[in-house]
Symmetry: C2
Subunit: 226 residues, 2 copies
DNA sequence: TTTAAAAAGATAGTAATACTATCATAAATA
DNA sequence: TATTTATGATAGTATTACTATCTTTTTAAA
């Protein structure tokens, strides 16, 4: 028996649901491959169409433009990650242990999840690191936010914030600390691999060091707020 | 007497030194205005040329493309900020006070600095917040880094890291904490204004709260490493 | 099983973007 | 005054980011 994980996506993100057809699934699959290969700037619907063996117009029937597609992919990732977190922290009683597990999940390169067949999570993780912030660092962030495009990200942040508060009800900045952990899990990874002098992990290039740094950061903040 | 602050820029960033002519200075001045107005994605050399009253080709004589121009502006900002920091922390003995001052400088909206006539620092600060990471979140980050485009950012990070170590020589992650402070000073500002539920400052929208959060984060980390 | 609706393929076309090239003119400098 | 250098004016190209239309194929309802 194989379990199928399904993430319900915001309908305003697409013109036609990419999960509803083979072509749609191919768009998701190949866009993840192509964006992680060429970067978001050089990524075009024309190249994507060539990769898939369809036409540009075919892609445009699913996504209005490449920005929406990027937002879709990031939203999908955050929703998937929130599920991972709820799955892996289920039945954990100690909130501090829970928080440690969350940090580990955030900062660990994902392996391809068999439960989702058309998205390669390990490539998507690389996209999130290098392109993720471009989903919201735009002039349209306000409108996009109104349409709830960033809800999965905000939900994840809220979940992490709640765990932080469970660890330490007096802590004053649970949401900001949550967004800091999430962003830094990725930025420190990007820096470690691309601008190593911005980190202390340039020699080992080990994710475990990023995790140790984030744990140190978080638990010192919470310890002193007791 | 008026002091003129001059920042020596990496020559590989431009084709012709924009500081060497009126047109060049206009390119800097108007690009800051136009990018902060339209965002980097919608910003084009054509629009910039129209704004200035010159031609597209004229801009291309100074900058190879808009990415180089963005990198130029961010590099300029980091170099300017490093000077601000060294100026405002000069003669401070207590490294903890120094660090607090640095955090304040990082997270406070800049006023236009009279010492530089063609760059509006307050607009540039907004660009750094919303577009700054796009300077390095690209596929060419490795080559750009080889050409030392990010040296001012790395230098600033090193300066902050040194102050952190002066506060607490045992602290294990001075560079990562430095890059975390720098990035979060801007990201928390962006979130506060655009995706407020990712922060704890959505009501007040006060920079002072970001500063308080960062101080809390940093000094709790250092206190426990004594 | 037929029929109609929906999706996909094929092709064309447009406006804008991201450049490069050329030639004339104006300004600075030697 | 001659000459270099910067700017202006104009043109042109390849690519991007779409939109439109028409045909064929697939799917799903009657």
């Amino acid at each position: 028996m194989k379990l199928q994980l399904h993430i319900k996506m915001n309908e305003a993100l697409f013109l036609r649901n990419p999960e509803s057809s083979e072509l749609g699934k191919n768009i998701l699959k190949h866009s993840v491959q192509l964006i992680s290969k060429t970067g978001f700037e050089a990524f075009t619907f024309k190249k994507l169409a060539e990769d898939i063996g369809t036409t540009e117009a075919g892609i445009y029937r699913y996504f209005e433009n490449k920005h929406k597609l990027l937002v879709y992919l990031t939203a999908w990732y955050w929703a998937w990650l929130e599920f991972q977190i709820s799955f892996h922290t289920n039945n954990m009683n100690d909130p501090a242990e829970k928080l440690k597990r969350v940090i580990k999940l955030l900062a660990t390169t994902v392996e391809d999840d068999e439960k989702t067949n058309y998205i390669d999570e390990s490539l998507l993780y690389q996209i999130i690191i290098a392109e993720g912030s471009k989903a919201y660092l735009t002039k349209q962030v306000g409108e996009d936010n109104k349409q709830q495009f960033f809800k999965p990200y905000k939900d994840l942040c809220a979940v992490v914030g709640t765990i932080i508060l469970a660890c330490c009800p007096n802590y004053k900045y649970p949401k900001s600390l949550a967004s800091t952990i999430i962003e830094m899990a990725h930025f420190q990874n990007f820096f470690m691999n691309n601008l190593p002098s911005l980190t202390d992990f340039s020699e080992s290039k080990e994710e475990s060091e990023i995790i140790a740094f984030l744990n140190d950061l978080v638990f010192n903040s919470l310890k002193n707020a007791q």
